[in-house]
Amino acid sequence: MESPRWHSTRRLIAPAVALLLIAATIVGLPPELARADDGYDPNPDLPHADISVESHGDGVTIYIAVSDSSPGSSGDSSSSDGVGGSGGWSCSADVMNIGVGMREWFEREAPLHPGQAPWIVRCDNGFFGVVWLSTDVGPADIQIVVVRGDAVDPAAMAAALLDHVPVPDITIGVNPATGLVAVPSWFWIEGYDGSPIVASDTLGGVTVEVEITPTGYRWYFGDGAALETTSLGQPYPQPSDIRHTYEQSSSVGGSFAATVEIAFSARYRVDGGAWQPLDPITRSFTAAYPVQQLQSILTGQ
């Protein structure tokens, strides 16, 4: 199905092409010029490799994504810290020593990269690349990771990322703190407002985002009863719609295991593209909940 954005883009493209054809006719441009094509890349068979930089709290990671046509691509993926390394590729990154021969290039490029300095990345099998890194970064802060670009599987990345989506540390709120048989207990979720949770990762220049959204909450009260809701409940003293009345007490000194199981729908996208579905996931959180039997004391008159 075409997106509304594409529809609107196409509405703009069609008149533009028509105008271009008319203009070409009027000014006498060669008709070939009006045809859409994307030019010619010199040396189209040159080996290629993607290089990308990801900044994080510990420094930066330089990813080199190699393909079958990359120099030395038969080597295994590997990583190295700044200088040296192991595996099939041994790479290093060095801040560029701006000699006079590269003066003009530096003067042109530096304004495009404020607060950054150019670094040269070399690998012993011939790879060479230039990246711009923050002036805060030193050699010890750099890790170089070589991955096989054609082996970067976004779906696999998304699946791996799904296991590490930072679901908040949810707790179960309940009132009264100690339940009473035949008296409704109110439950709710604390520490999470039900909004979608997003995680992302970049590998070999491919950025994958994973988003999970809660679709339902299944409550298990520990005495065999269960309840399914789409609500997080309401914290006391507000009346919560998640209620349960225990018919028996927990064992003496013991408690029921009150559990909420949250079902999340999941999806992912690659480099900001269209969202694609992932298998749903669930996360469970449990709290111990003691329930007592009210004792009636009869007093004689």
Partner: protein, 188 residues
Amino acid sequence: MQKGAVLTRRFALLATVAVMGLMLAACGDGGNEGDSVRTESPTPAATRTAVPEASPTSTPSIEQEVSEAYLRYWEVYADAVFNLDESKLPEVMTGPQLDRTRREIDGLRQRGRAAKIVVEHNSFIAELDPVAGTATMHDEYTNRSYEVDAETKQIVGQAAPGTVLTDTYFLVKEDGTWKVRDGIRQGG
């Protein structure tokens, strides 16, 4: 990263940049140098070449040799893919790059096409080892090349829309002549 280390590093980098700036100012030549070099086939436009200056490990003539060899490589390459004539390729390239370019020309020929190379260079010598006879040229060039009919040389399609291609070329000195031996494209 520790803050002290960061500050020290920042100071060192700032100092380096300041020294570089002073060096660059001292090396100014009155604005005669252009900001890029343009290669076009089959009649290359007048080019203005940045002339590298001396470094402790090489002489100006060697760096100039490399720069000129690199531009010469592009001129010969541009002529070859425009005229589908491989005869002069060995003068400027060798090894894998020569094989690659021959295959490229063969592919164009089979499709009845040729290529008009229009590029504006933005290059520098990244490495130069006069003793070993090796050099690395990094080029972030703007590409406006297009295909032409092999016979009529009339344009087919449209010129590339000024895309920047990032290539690194590895040169070797072979029988006294600098030649492009291999290359790699960053991205793409």
